[in-house]
């Protein structure tokens, strides 16, 4: 019934075996297997961090039980496979919210730890890992370790952002954030070009907890980098605490490849830009469309057809960032391969807790492209060169293209990290960026 692939559906790999974990007290001895193992949750990371070609996957989604909820202090403990969706259903009616959420709520809590996910409030709140108080890690030798900033602190920092390589997380405890409403007071502002984006972003930094911008990657010339800036705060004057609706549309079949071409992309991007009639709009929206617009469509990745898609997310450090982002968008506009989801945001300087966390001060740009073989690869080569020269980094959870050199330079603590990698754990990603562990 379940297929085990990543959200980008590229690369395609085969697993020897998938072992569902039904009980946190009954994790099998993992050093007994001949092939390396890797935990796998909802498969919402795009590239190959959640894949283990020719190896064994440990499906953590049956570990979906809550363990304890301190409603006074807002501390939740739950099993590894509980999704953010289920957590919201439980905590929103009681006046609590996720401290950090990515653009989908269909990820497991252990996946949020393993990728140290970030969201629209990064400039205020940092990454998800900052709110983790402790978790249990089961290693392949059968040992069970409680990890927290005080206890097994090294493994704690290695496992946050550790891509599932340090052992199996069986449960996670983390801090929630109090809210007075399930609604967000949102402002939308149209910007004509990149300079204006940076102006609005700077001006929004202090007063808005959530900021992000959508960019039209096909506009060129004076309009290069035009888009819509979205910023918001949890509403205070509208005390309604209903979680999101369960109604979701589905994409019944893989779209044929001709549906997404440069023309349809241009039409989409132009319409999306002009949907905002005036320069600025204010509205009160439920958190669901504000944080999770794509979750309304169950399997939206199918619109990219059978061949799948590639995601690209980089962080460009401050310095030449404006020129670098401009050059990247120019290169994409020239390729005429735009994406629905070009997202631009400034990261804050809140330190990430993990040895391998991706977010760092600078600007982050996210895009997706339908995979159509060599032309896509050439585009990625060029984009990577631009980011590399600027001293930027790529996000493992979105990556299919990083070279070992790029990885090792932008994650300088990877050697220190590799000492904490469990000897019986590996992933397609890890073998790729470490040259099979030999690098």
């Amino acid at each position: 019934m379940r297929t085990y692939e990543s959200w980008g559906r590229f690369p395609k790999v085969r697993h020897r075996q998938v072992i569902p974990l039904y009980w946190r007290t009954e994790v099998p001895r993992l050093d007994a297997f001949e092939r390396p193992v890797l935990p796998h949750g909802m498969g919402r990371s795009y590239g190959d961090v959640c894949l283990n070609d020719d190896g064994i996957l440990l499906d953590t989604t049956p570990l979906d039980r809550f363990i304890a909820f301190d409603e006074e202090k807002g501390i939740l403990r739950c099993e590894a496979g509980v999704t953010l969706d289920r957590i919201l259903d439980l905590v929103v009616p009681r006046g609590w919210f996720l401290p950090v959420t990515p653009g989908t709520k269909y990820i497991t809590v252990a996946g949020a730890v393993a990728n140290d996910v970030h969201g629209k409030n990064h400039h205020h709140g940092g990454t998800f890992g900052r709110y983790v108080t402790r978790f249990e890690l089961v290693r392949s030798d059968g040992s069970r370790l409680i990890c927290s900033p005080e206890e097994n602190a090294d493994l704690f920092r290695a496992t946050i952002g550790g891509l599932g390589l340090t052992g199996v997380i069986t449960w996670v405890e983390f801090r929630l954030k109090p809210i007075a409403s399930a609604y967000i007071e949102e402002e939308l502002i149209r910007f004509e070009n990149l300079d204006e984006f940076f102006e609005i972003s700077a001006e929004s930094d202090v007063d808005f907890e959530y900021t992000v911008a959508w960019v039209d990657c096909l506009a060129q010339g004076d309009h290069l980098g035009r888009g819509i800036f979205m910023r918001g705060n949890h509403a205070t004057g509208y005390p309604v605490l209903t979680p999101g609706s369960k109604r979701r549309l589905g994409v019944p079949v893989d779209f044929p490849e001709f549906v997404l071409n440069s023309f349809s992309m241009r039409v989409f991007n132009t319409l999306y830009y002009h949907r905002l009639r005036e320069k600025k709009a204010r509205r009160l929206v439920h958190y669901e469309p504000f944080f999770y617009p794509l979750d309304a469509i169950r399997n939206w990745n199918r619109i990219y057809g059978k061949r799948g898609m590639l995601q690209f997310q980089c962080a460009v450090p401050y310095g030449d960032h404006k020129e670098v982002i401009r050059a990247i968008i120019e290169r994409i506009a020239r390729s005429r391969r735009a994406s629905f989801l070009a997202v631009l945001k400034e990261f804050g300087d809140v330190p990430s807790p993990g040895l391998m966390s991706f977010p760092r001060p600078g600007v982050t740009l996210t895009l997706d492209f339908p995979y159509d073989g060599l032309p896509t690869m050439h585009l990625f080569d060029d984009l990577h060169a631009l980011v590399r020269e600027a001293g930027g980094a790529f996000y493992p959870a979105k990556d299919t293209h990083m070279t070992p050199e790029e990885f090792q330079r932008s994650y300088p603590r990877w050697k220190e990290f590799s000492r904490f990698v469990d000897p019986h754990f590996s992933s397609s990603f890890w073998r790729r960026v470490t040259r099979g562990g030999e690098a």
Binding site: M1, R2, P20, Y22, W23, R24, T25, P62, R65, F66, I67, A68, F69, C78, E79, L90
Partner: protein, 245 residues
């Protein structure tokens, strides 16, 4: 507020049914073999809103402890409103053809233990003139097939037993529900190929909870199994015996 006894409470389907009772703030008494698993389920239900959750470690094949279990449940929660029987085993059919002890074990666990547990509960509910007894049988009990007839016939006995019990207790105002799930994606079926007809425990759990609320008699879950089984039951034996089912 409803007082619910669940036997086989750590089964995937039972956990899903229990989540609905928990969300409604009900009281639950969970019975299962493994103490740690029972504790994990109990914690989950408490977080989800159950006002009270008690656990009781029991192997259902300890028939002489069934009375103790019932007394413990009623002294913990008070008079029971709902009893859900959700335990069962399904060993490999090929193995069952070679191992008589294992085949008899299937009957002890799936059938005899249920008769032993339900007989005093039925009398109690009959005297009180209220209560709901829900029993998870199976579509496999509707007709014996070569691929699964030991398990299937152990469930067929449950279907007939609950049918008779329903007939007897309906006059007393006691609801008896026979639940017939198709294949469900649980640890019990982990070795089977996951076809299109495999349902999620979540879906089946929701159907069972609804059936209990609405006081249904016989429930197929998912619903389409009623029609599939209707066809299968009506295939003439002359033809059926040659089929590869």
């Amino acid at each position: 507020m409803t007082n619910v006894l669940i036997v086989g409470a750590t089964s995937a389907i039972a956990q899903e049914v229990a989540k609905h009772f928990a969300a409604a703030g009900d009281h639950l008494f969970l019975v299962g073999r493994n103490k740690e698993k029972l504790a994990a389920v109990a914690e989950d239900l408490q977080v989800r809103g159950a006002r009270r959750v008690e656990t009781f470690v029991l192997d259902v094949n300890e028939f002489d402890r069934h009375q103790e279990m019932l007394e413990a449940a009623e002294s913990a929660l008070g008079p029971l409103d709902v009893v859900l029987i959700a335990h069962g085993i399904m060993p490999d059919q090929k193995q069952l053809e070679q191992d008589v002890d294992l085949a008899l074990e299937v009957y002890r666990t799936n059938t005899l233990s249920v008769i032993s547990i339900l007989t005093p509960i039925a009398n109690l509910f009959e005297r009180r003139g209220r209560g709901t007894i829900a029993v998870i049988s199976s579509v496999a009990g509707d007709r014996g097939r070569q691929s699964n007839y030991v398990y299937g016939s152990s469930k067929a006995a449950l279907t007939a037993f609950t049918s008779g019990l329903r007939n007897r207790l309906s006059r007393a105002g006691v609801q008896v529900i026979t639940i017939k799930p198709g294949p469900v994606d649980t640890p019990m079926t982990a070795h089977m190929r996951k076809g299109l007809l495999m349902a999620s425990p979540e879906k089946v759990g929701r159907d069972i909870y609804q059936a209990i609320l609405k006081g249904k008699d016989v429930v197929y879950t998912p619903w389409f199994w009623r029609y599939i089984m209707c066809v299968i039951v009506h295939i003439p034996e002359r033809i059926f015996k040659r089929m590869n089912l």
